[in-house]
Amino acid sequence: MTTEQTTGQTTGQTTGETTGQQPPRVGFFTDTSVCIGCKACEVACKEWNLVPEDGLTLTGMSYDNTEALGASTWRHVAFIEQTKPLGGQQAHQPHADLDVLALAARGSATPVDEAAMTPTTPGPPTADGRTELRWLMASDVCKHCTEAACLDVCPTGALFRTEFGSVVVQQDVCNGCGYCVPACPFGVIEQREGDGRAFKCTLCYDRLGAGQEPACAKACPTDSIQFGPLDALRERAERRVAQLHAAGVPDARLYGAEPDDGVGGAGAFFLLLDEPEVYGLPPDPRVTTRDLPTMWRHAALAAVTLLGGIAAAHRVFGRKR
């Protein structure tokens, strides 16, 4: 398949073993418009990275029982059920004369063109007011920000930037101070309960080094998760958005693809079909350390004021003896 060939080639380049040069910055383009919510990425990630089990609960949040990214969840598939037509379409397929059983009997041999008309194609609101429903699915992951707050604030240097441009925690250095946790504007990194150290997606650092693509991208059956050099992915994403806009899906938009955004551009960006907050993503994330010079200035001013106030008070009351 073409995809595997391209990703295979790109990952071959990324190792830089033969050339000795710095490999290009790589990342993920997660195209949620083709995500089918199979959670193969979640499973592949857990398996490859030996991420422990983190609770088996039924949340009632559609088919999402994973809940959120965290110390032991490095890929998270969100499920959003909305009473919105899919991409603003007008469903016009008459379903009355559709022989569901006949379709089923043909199984997966249904030609692509015909498969467009399925029993699940939503129709207009019914007489009793039930509306159309769309189901958004999106696989979330660490954004591997260009300006990474977690990396900036880490006091031990446990978090570092790899030669591939990803951000990784050195587990033998992390002392579990937990400062990276509230620093992340996306709520990705977390301390693992019972362990104390911080964990997050490593962009499969071990696999990249061996010229392999990350486990989640490898496992994704629809190529919703695409891995490769960031520049190429951004170009491809622009084309995909244009394609969807032309096809009449005006809500398709890229998230995290702009190098001049609040985190300097994400190493893992997304094609979304609704506002980011619908998927649990912040609409305009900013790296907190951009304001750090201002903060230090105020802290210095405050310290000097404190010292000055104390000196002034003692000056007013003078020497005791």
Partner: protein, 345 residues
């Protein structure tokens, strides 16, 4: 995952893969070019009401307690030096001892809060100005021994010169120890902390001065407590100003400071500060008991302020509203400004 077959006529059974269309695409794009709605959302949306941010796993007792004790120690060291050089030796000695006690306790709280306490020395592996916690670790590494030496020399009377040098060093580093914690909280994505990043260092400096003055009133003799009473009054004024500025400038993120547990803590802090300052300025000059009581009240006020700020941040991180709404409004304002700019051009 392709199931395509290569035949003489080319590929057969090719699936669209990443080019797959859905929704409108399936109807041939008959409604193409429909404009996106530009009306801003009146309400915020979220993913099942779940927080966008991760709530820090810090214990209130450890971290808010650390900030209170660090402030008490830092301001106390500055007060101790001032007292020593203006002939108030009993107050100076008491404050040096309290600063050593406070900084020891606060360091213990910090180490206790680590996920891997045995690795606490990793804090001194690197020096990173981009990490307030790294800066703080180095500050503590300098300040702690200085405060210790100053206290030891004051308690034993040995090595007076070294003691004086340590007193000066502790007085110089102390205010930084007291105010950097404001940056420590503000340099996060937590809305109620970050949106207050201009005010928190000032609020913490004032709160530290409140604690230091409180300790001076509590532990120092009455005849030496004049400056401490003045510092208490100054600190109360500064704290009120900083807090007011914080609440007006933080926008939506100011709400957690007014409601719930942090709101109640902050009200308590204000009342205690008022009582303590009134007692300090009006009665502490006349009665040792009144001085001690006002001092204790001021210490409690400072602690309540730190716990209020800590809990406000936690509350703002838990509710996606405080993350999404201000960012949404910011985007809206930017879009409006851009529209105006293009309209004018």
């Amino acid at each position: 995952m392709s199931e395509a077959r290569v035949t003489r006529d080319g590929l057969e059974g090719v699936r669209p893969g990443r080019e797959a269309l859905f929704g409108n695409g399936l109807d041939g794009g008959r409604r193409r070019g429909r404009e996106r709605p530009v009306v801003p959302q009146a309400e915020f949306t979220s993913y099942y009401g779940r927080p966008v941010l991760k709530v820090p796993s810090w214990e209130a007792r450890d971290i808010a307690g650390y900030m209170f004790l660090g402030g008490l120690a830092g301001a106390g060291s500055a007060l101790a030096a001032a007292a020593q050089f203006t002939g108030r030796p009993a107050t100076a000695r008491a404050l040096k001892l309290s600063s050593l006690g406070a900084i020891s306790l606060s360091t213990a709280a910090l180490v206790h809060d680590l996920g891997r306490p045995a690795r606490f020395l990793n804090m001194l592996r690197v020096a990173k100005p981009t990490s307030p916690m790294s800066v703080g670790s180095w500050l503590l590494a300098g300040y702690g021994p200085a405060a210790g030496l100053a206290a030891a020399s004051a308690a034993t009377g040995l090595l007076p010169r070294l003691g004086t040098a340590a007193t000066l060093a502790a007085a110089g580093l102390g205010p930084a120890v007291a105010t950097y914690t404001g940056v420590l909280l503000a340099d996060t994505a937590v809305p109620s902390w970050h949106e207050a990043h201009r005010e928190l260092p000032h609020l913490f400096a004032a709160s530290a001065a409140t604690a230091g003055a409180g300790m001076a009133l509590l532990a120092g003799p009455r005849r030496e407590n004049g400056p401490a009473r003045a510092v208490a009054a100054l600190a109360a004024g500064g704290e009120a100003l900083a807090l007011r500025s914080l609440l007006t400038s933080a926008g939506h993120a100011a709400e957690p400071y007014r409601t719930g547990r942090p709101g109640r803590l902050l009200t308590t802090a204000k009342r205690l500060a008022f009582l303590g300052t009134a007692g300090a300025t009006l009665l502490a000059g006349r009665s040792r008991t009144a001085a001690a009581l006002s001092g204790a009240t001021l210490l409690a006020a400072s602690a309540a302020t730190r716990f209020a700020v800590f809990h406000a941040g936690i509350a703002s991180a838990r509710d996606p509203k405080y993350t999404v709404l201000p960012q949404r409004l910011r985007l809206q304002a930017e879009a409006e400004a851009e529209a105006e700019a293009t309209g004018a051009a």
